[in-house]
């Protein structure tokens, strides 16, 4: 009993001392703003170079992710240059409030984004130039914002998200098909048997055959099967092509985020679970980010766009970026497509230096 008590005291002391480390001063540096709107209290942490006339607005993924995890992505190279606003969307990250689930719509998220930009200009000056950085779901949201709201952005940097699920699913099918074929050619076996929608896949031949017979993806059943089959090749692709460590100059520890930041993992996970249940769950066929297509409206978007894409993304492959580049109405000299050759879905983390340099070049060109 005495020994158990000692272990408990030692564990608590260790946790407490961990909580006292202060690598980033996330609880002190910069400004913490909240936007209250339609029941949501959305935090926007603003850090970086407050002398700059540029504000980079992080539009995180999910839906239901958090911008807190991106602080380390921007801290090394981008924060010394510009102000960076880390916005947690409604019902995501450390966002608080008491809202109706009926307000979890794409239109509402886009309206929130417009108000966040307005609030930043109100607080820091109307002459500030705001560039959005959308990642994953953040690309869908930023694109929808540009299509439906009065634009207040100077430009958008988009990374591994989508404007059309037709292209998204097509890229995912190619990912599974091509790498399954490559594994077969190299004599590599499928790591695990996969069961999806009542079908069992025991070898790579059956995976390749399914992808050839089920393109395009036009039903929830096919989508769920495709998502399950990604596991057949994901480990191989990561091991073979994706950089195994990041080149982030100042990594942020999980203890720092957990104990010394406004980002509360318990709260974030609760938000993520609930939002998955409400609007982001393909197994319940209620995801607002499946089966949509902005393509017919993309010609309306004319602001500068930089597409910075991880090449080996198992969710949204570079074919989507190529199509985005082709269909967006932006003039050729104001749009660019940059491929991160050693990254998957999170290029801004894996190849942080290249991502950051590309972002800074784009902003400097279009400021």
């Amino acid at each position: 009993m005495k020994q158990i008590t000692q272990y408990i005291i030692f564990g608590l002391a260790l946790t407490f001392f961990n909580s006292c480390t202060n690598e980033y001063n996330l609880n002190e540096e910069g400004d913490m703003l909240f936007l209250k709107h339609k029941g949501a209290s959305m935090p926007v942490l603003v850090r970086g170079n407050f002398q700059s006339d540029i504000i980079i607005l992080m539009v995180h993924g999910g839906a239901g992710g958090t911008s807190g995890v991106h602080i380390e992505d921007f801290n090394g190279w981008i924060e010394p240059e510009y102000m960076v606003a880390y916005w947690d969307q409604r019902h995501a990250g450390s966002s608080q409030g008491n809202m109706s689930k009926d307000d979890l719509t794409l239109d509402q998220f886009a309206e929130d984004m417009s108000l966040v930009i307005g609030m930043l200009k109100h607080k820091y000056g109307e002459d500030k130039k705001v560039f959005a950085v959308g990642h994953s779901w953040g690309v869908i949201l930023t694109t929808y914002y540009l299509l439906t709201q009065e634009n207040k952005l100077e430009g958008a940097i988009l990374s591994n998200g989508s404007h059309s699920t037709e292209h998204e699913y097509s890229a995912r099918i190619d990912y599974v098909h091509d790498f399954a074929q490559e594994m077969m050619d190299k004599g590599i076996d499928m790591p695990n048997q996969i069961t999806a929608e009542g079908n069992t896949f025991s070898d790579l031949e059956s995976v390749v055959e399914w992808t050839e017979q089920n393109d395009p993806i036009d039903s929830w059943e096919k989508l769920r099967t495709l998502n399950a089959l990604v596991d057949a090749v994901f480990g191989y692709v990561q091991e073979t092509y994706v950089r195994d460590t990041s080149d982030i100059p100042f990594p942020i520890s999980s203890e720092e985020i957990t104990y010394n930041s406004p980002y509360h993992p318990w709260v974030s996970s609760m938000n993520q679970l609930r939002i998955a249940q409400l609007i982001n769950n393909p197994t319940r066929e209620n995801s607002i980010q499946e089966f949509y297509d902005f393509t017919p409206m993309m010609d309306d978007i004319e602001l500068p766009i930089s597409l910075i894409w991880g090449k080996y993304d198992h969710i949204i492959g570079p074919e989507v970026a190529e199509d985005y580049y082709d269909v967006v109405g932006t003039a050729a000299e104001d749009k660019e497509l940059i491929i991160l050759e050693q990254s998957g879905h999170s290029g801004m983390y894996r190849e942080n230096k290249k991502f950051s340099e590309s972002l800074i070049q784009f902003v400097e060109k279009h400021r």
Partner: protein, 193 residues
């Protein structure tokens, strides 16, 4: 059914009737605690507890174990920097046990009101511009907290006890449902006869 209910109420209200020897439980307890939401979001907690329906048990002739139901009222404040500040007014009911050598344990159910204040600059849309927004919101809280510690009155006659209480509780409404929270309380109890 009605008779059972009346007897239950009487049993809770009538104290000190089920033993003849002096109990280690006082008439009142007051407490001052460190309250750490998520451990690191530190705060303070004041409490007043009323032991009711005290029971003594003698395993051997000179070894006395004390048990009681304890009702409590607590005022708690903590700060989660740049997230929120919490002010809670809660009531609890729980079971306390003081062992023969002073090991004290308890298990409590707690519920009440929470005022949450956003910890930052709050803006709301006002026409075409923005105005300072209201930081406050009201919530219901409900949770449990077991506790373990040492009661010094058994051995040293000091009217003090020190307890550690991990708390698990929910705060509602929170977004579209509730949020679960955890906290660690280090409580110093002063026994008032």
């Amino acid at each position: 059914m009605n008779h059972k209910f009346i007897w239950l109420i009487l049993a809770c209200l009538l104290t000190n009737i089920s033993y003849a020897q002096e109990s280690a439980f006082p008439s009142y307890q007051v407490s001052l605690s460190f309250f750490g939401e998520n451990i690191s979001h530190s705060g303070v907690r004041l409490g007043m507890m009323l032991p009711i329906q005290k029971v003594l048990k003698h395993k051997k002739a000179d070894e006395q174990v004390d048990k009681a139901w304890v009702g409590g009222l607590f005022l708690t404040y903590y700060k989660d920097p740049r997230n929120h500040q919490g002010l809670m007014l809660t009531g609890s009911i729980g079971r306390q046990r003081i062992g023969k050598k002073g090991l004290q344990s308890s298990f409590n159910i707690e519920t009440g009101y929470m005022l949450s204040l956003l910890d930052g600059e709050v803006y709301e849309q006002e026409g075409e511009s923005f105005a300072q927004g209201n930081r406050a919101s009201s919530h219901f809280v409900f949770g449990i907290n077991p506790g373990i510690g040492w009661n010094f009155s058994k051995v040293t006659q000091l009217p003090l006890a020190i307890m550690a209480h991990p708390h698990i509780y929910v705060q509602a409404p929170y977004n579209t449902l509730f949020v679960h929270r955890a906290a660690l309380e280090i409580k110093m109890i002063l026994n008032l006869k």
